[in-house]
Amino acid sequence: MKRILLYLTLLSGLCLSCKKEAVIPEKFTYKEQLPVIWPDYTLLTIPPNIAPMNFKVKTEAEAAIVQVTGGGKEIIVAGDDKNTIQFPATSWHSLLTASKGDAIKFTLFTKDKNGAWTRWQSYANYVAKEEIDPYLSYRLIEPGYELYRQLGIYQRNLGTFEETPIYENNRAYDIKDNHCINCHTYQNRKTGNMLFHVRQAHGGTVIVQGDKIKKVNLKTDSTISAGVYPAWHPMLNKVAFSVNKTGQSFHLIGQTKIEVLDEASDLIIYDVDKDEVTPICKTPDLFETFPTWNKAGDTLFYCVAKPKILLEGNDSIGWKRAIARYDSIYYDLMAMPYDMQTNTFGTPAVIFPASQIHKSITLPRVSPDGRYLLFTLGDFGQFHIWHKSSDLYVIDLLTKSIRPLSKANSPEVDSYHSWSSNGRWIVFSSRRDDGSYTRPYFTYFNEKGGETKPFILPVENPEEHILRLKSYNIPELTVEPVRITPGQFKDVIYNSEAKKVSLKQ
């Protein structure tokens, strides 16, 4: 036994001796320049409950050491052989907790080939007082065109690096089982009431209410499709959906590769308890889409296009006409009063006529306090995730002022977004890293309606963001994990027929 203990001690000693020593060098030269690190985690506002923000030193160096101080605590970490800095989780969280509402200072030292150390200009990240919702769910899928194969909806614990599947489709190719899943959504960022769609084999919309799961078919004879973009009412067991007839085309040249267009779209409201669908609007001359509720649940915001180019003249509405003038379709922001007692909607009003400035608005989302409405604005069309012109904007619903989130936006696509439950954090998907693969970025949104420099989702080894050849799609913050297991979802998806909903005119 003694011998075993001796061996174990020697082995652990050997392992420890392999790890680079993290000691601040005594002699160094100072460089008044911020170090180049990836991801760029400099000069940020970060949540106090975020996972260690590990990074890679991009400056050529033989070794790297970082010193982090804040709240009377200190962490010193040496980079590995690739100069990747990975903070120990316990120390990181302890430092962040102690630094709530204050700044933490990062000082980086690098060693050159001659063994000389350089101390780079220190930088500070501000630790916000407000936490971010602890879970982020997203779909992982290739930034593909028409096909899908293995994909899933996952949830990530933002305080750790744990990623678990909510549901994954079939691993092995089988035409009888192949199905796509999309549009996961929650009621008020809680997972008790949630839904997502299943397309093709085993198709339907999977609805979760507490521990009950059901699969419904939202297509009726008098609606143009099954439910597409959902918005769960903040108080009622009702979900507003757009119904869309959608197609896509592929550009022959240029860096913008895909154009997604609607040929028609309307809105419906689905009563989850009664499995009943009521059309909100059936207007062939208007394309309504992307519904979302305000905080009180008495107003439905949505986007609408008046695609004159498709409707003018004697031609019938056709796909060819749409794609020929794809860059002349603009969506405005609308609001429609809703009577919760009678389940009826009032007269729509224009909130932001983006078409008048030849812009197009999509994906409106109201902040949890009800004051701000965040949306995506692009040059045209409605599927901004493929438009480089797409940026995040916010409307102050109190003052009606509109402004871009300039500090958060990038020259690349910045699109799908969601609020944290305290309204202080926004997550959005962005293609800024390479123009193709979306990654979740976070920005702090203060009481005055100002945002801060965004940062990418922290991962254990930053290289994961390079190696994962899938896009993070529809990032949604939740206050709790999804409790239904993938097996329970699979059971319902595979073994139950989608219940056909009834239509109420």
Binding site: Y148, C180, G247, S249, L252, G254, Q255
Partner: protein, 532 residues
Amino acid sequence: MKTHPKSKDTTSKKKEKRTIFPLSFSRFRISLQLFFLVFTVLFVRYYYGEILWKMQDLAYFTSSFSELQQVAGSQINIPVYIGRFFLQFCYYPWLGTLFVTLVLCLMQGLTERILRFDSSYWWHLASYLPPAGILVYMSLCNYNFIYEVDPSDFFIWLLASLSVIIFCWGCISVVRRVAGKKRPEVAPMSSKETCLGGGVVLTGIVLLTLFARPDENLRAMTRMQYFTQQQEWDKVIDCTEGLSAPTRPVAAYRSIALVNTNQLGERLFEIPYNYPKLVMKISDDTYLQNDYFYTAEACFYSGLINTAYHHLMEFMTLEGPSPFTLRLMTKCAVLNQEWELAERYLSVLEKMYFQRGFTEKYRNYIAHKELISKDPELVSVFDLEPVVNTFEQSFKEPLFIGYYINLTKGKSRRSLDLSLAACLYAKELEAFLVRTQALRGQSHIAKHFQEAIALEGYSSGNGFEKQFPISPLVTERTKNLLMEISKYMDDKEKGRDVLRKEYGNHFLYYYIFGNMVSSPQEGKETNKNGVN
């Protein structure tokens, strides 16, 4: 002659028999094993060398298991990891061949030890059945061998079979040792036995060569893919020699080589175009689920960079990342000046063995984009890139033909040649004639274009051909062919066979007899789902 003392009696009895070439069993065995070794090396390298290379080219691998899972997905488990590791040997077809041969020989040697129960020599012959079975299995898989399963599956099965044999051999060795049984010795073989044994072996080899050969189009296609990667265009063209019925991918790769050697107008119709099916058949009821594995390259070398990227992304979505998709996606990104995207693919690629040369070359392009204009391959693609933006949906599929049938504006003379050739291939004579306006005043026109112009001149009788430099030989040959064809208008099948030798490479022959077979896209099912 060496014999074991314990088998003396038997040996002396055997000696009494009249023998023509008395042969000890060990010599017979070693000769046979050596013969099997040489035969397997040659057989695997000749028939499967490039197929193994292609399997490797479709299997992403990096030595870090966690990184492999991040890139290729959570379906990567330990057996797949091991399979893909050994598949890396196939980057060099000879190395892959030697590895497969080594495993097959080991299987034979160990099986022989397992089966050695008595003094008969038949167990020795029987020990060749497992490796032969592996080779037959390879041929039965056909396209499925590469495209419908994980490329590492073959190596997993190969190594799993070897492991089972090693396990059995280990168990039997232990049992024999415990039981105190020594390996029985085999007596020298009589001439009759030698002849019989040799006959069985020869028959086995003939059968193996007949049945374990891969589909000729599969082999041709993978060889063409291999030479395409090496940019050895003449070798790509040579691969189609002797093929009785080339498939679409084979025809596409040949056209890529012709485009890159500026021979499309001269040699397009040298091969028969009568595809048996619109989609490729794997077995009786299975068809390839996608054709992106060759349309991506065909689009790329036709200058349709975005479409190539589209097809590569679909291919990657279905089959997972691979060196093939990542390399070509890098090229697309570089040509599109999407530097960060190219850098991502290079970062993923450089984690593989054998890809360092490629990553260094292309990373250099990102840093010094002026170097792109000195790369003949990229320049050739860039020369053909469309100049007007429109949508893929505006053209017939496959796009590398459909786009060029409708081409009205291009960057280079090569675009015009491609357009003319596409019109001829699609039998769109009207569109071809419109484009011939651009050929006026040229001193030389490619052979097939001359043939089509001569045909128009002859059939319209308006002297159309006089506006172009048409060789008298071409005119004469076209007239002769027209007369010959008129004899077989009631029996095109017969005409096709009779005239093939003399006129098979003439446009008119193709126009009348080419692409005659058409059938619905049987069994073609995809999981296209609109917008993702």
